[in-house]
Assembly symmetry: C2
Homo-oligomer: 285 residues x 2
């Protein structure tokens, strides 16, 4: 972890272009020719992000979906993806899942690179989108007095991972909130997707915005109330987390879960108790 | 190899958007907002593309440079890169080389993904450029009667790899022909970069254009004439290969090396002898 943070700090010193958003946001935002492009790249490695026996069709879906979720958090319309692919077991399964996800979200595959690699496999997807609203939502813009909202129920991916049939799809084939992101973009203060657990991503939004987020436990929407603590720490849900002026109701189904306050020592409080990443509030990878 | 070709054929069936250029070209070409974007992605894996003891600074340079070379072949001006990075040995060295290459070619780093992976490391770079001339050069446009040209001398990377000091930089820190690509873009029939050996890349251009390329051995510019056969088969030179109307002289330093003919059985002939990839004419990865 120390090495990772040090490396990212070193990259940040190179990424001085405003489009990079200080590497603090989900995606880069680049203006060109009267349009605003949203650019994001995610990698997945065998043994770290998926097991050797992973279903390759589901993996292809997820690899694309997580990138589209970053576009959703920017209110962007997907334009294209590029794929970096290491050949191995069940390449045909991967192609089948890729076809499914590209068709489901109407995104063209435009290119990429195929390699033959030894050992653990590694995949990368770059997604390019077009902003539907400027200014483009930013996780750094949560302001004191705003309400904090989240779409959906947290913990669905966790229950699916554990084998609950009802939630199998939530884990295997998450659906990026593209339509919701576009509907929300003109209204939100800050917005980001929840990929690593609600608490951790709230902490990240608060830290990036230099505010305190105060969450109310009783208002957190979870798939299994008996396991609320796990549901709000597990990742892979790909919901949207956003802030709105107090009293403003979002144009999509969502729940208000707390408030943004002036920074008062901690970035995140749950029912008044300070939480930090050292408390195991999410999944870091 | 069979699996790789089968996989790419399956991807091609998905990549039906015209911007994908049938996955036959070096990069995708996407029109948006009155601009034409060029998009390319390359991966490198430890054990396949570089040894475990590779100099990480040089590797960072090369990873970016090979993507910029794809932009050069499109006459594009680089706008940004995204980096996918697996942490490991000498991350600081990688950052140093990355700084060098970004500064050398004035390209901003806009984002990407950093992962902790087990086993062999893997890196990916996505480069995004802006076309400086439309139509954007295409490797599929070589036409009978055109002359075939190449910049630079082939085999410099090979000699550098073998330890010849004079050519060390040609292997470790190749320079993409960005200025040459921009100067050539308005004039060329077909254009592509030479990354896998002159003969193989000529064969690819001819195949993509459905023509025959006839090369003259005596006209091939190589770094070591005594080893011409190796120089025109080794990769990693990142020169530009292009066609021009007969009698038209390019605005950059280059050598005419042959002619494009109507397809007559073979894609590639060298002094009248047919050559195919089965003859070991280049580096395939």
């Amino acid at each position: 972890m120390a090495n990772e943070l040090k490396f990212i700090d070193a990259l940040r010193a190179l990424a001085t272009h405003p489009a990079a958003r200080g590497l603090d946001d989900d995606a880069a935002v680049l203006e060109i020719g009267g349009e605003t492009l949203i650019l994001t790249h995610d990698m997945m490695a065998q043994g770290t992000h998926f097991p050797a026996n992973a279903d390759m069709a589901d993996l292809a879906w997820k690899l694309v979906a997580v990138n589209l979720s970053d576009l959703a958090a920017k209110g962007a319309e997907p334009l294209s993806i590029l794929l970096g692919y290491a050949l191995g077991e069940d390449d045909a399964g991967f192609v089948a899942g890729l076809r499914d996800v590209l068709e489901a979200f109407n995104v063209p595959l435009l290119g990429g690179d195929t390699i033959r690699a030894k050992g653990a496999r590694c995949f990368g997807v770059t997604a390019i989108g077009r902003a539907t609203h400027v200014p483009v939502p930013d996780r750094r813009n949560a302001r004191p007095g705003e309400a904090v909202w989240v779409t959906g129920a947290l913990g669905r991916a966790m229950l699916g991972f554990e084998g609950q049939t009802e939630f199998a799809g939530a884990f295997a084939r998450p659906v990026p909130r593209l339509a919701e992101g576009r509907a929300l973009a003109p209204h939100v203060g800050a917005m980001m997707d929840v990929s690593d657990g609600l608490l951790l991503d709230c902490w990240r939004m608060a830290t990036a915005s230099d505010v305190t987020i105060e969450l109310e436990r009783a208002r957190l929407p979870v798939a299994d109330p008996a396991r609320l603590d796990e549901c709000i720490r597990w990742g892979d849900d790909y919901e949207l987390l956003f802030t709105l002026p107090e009293g403003f109701h979002p144009p999509v189904a969502a729940n208000a879960i707390g408030m943004v306050a002036q920074k008062n020592g901690a970035a995140l409080r749950l029912d008044g108790t300070t939480l930090t990443p050292a408390d195991g509030i999410g999944y870091r990878h």
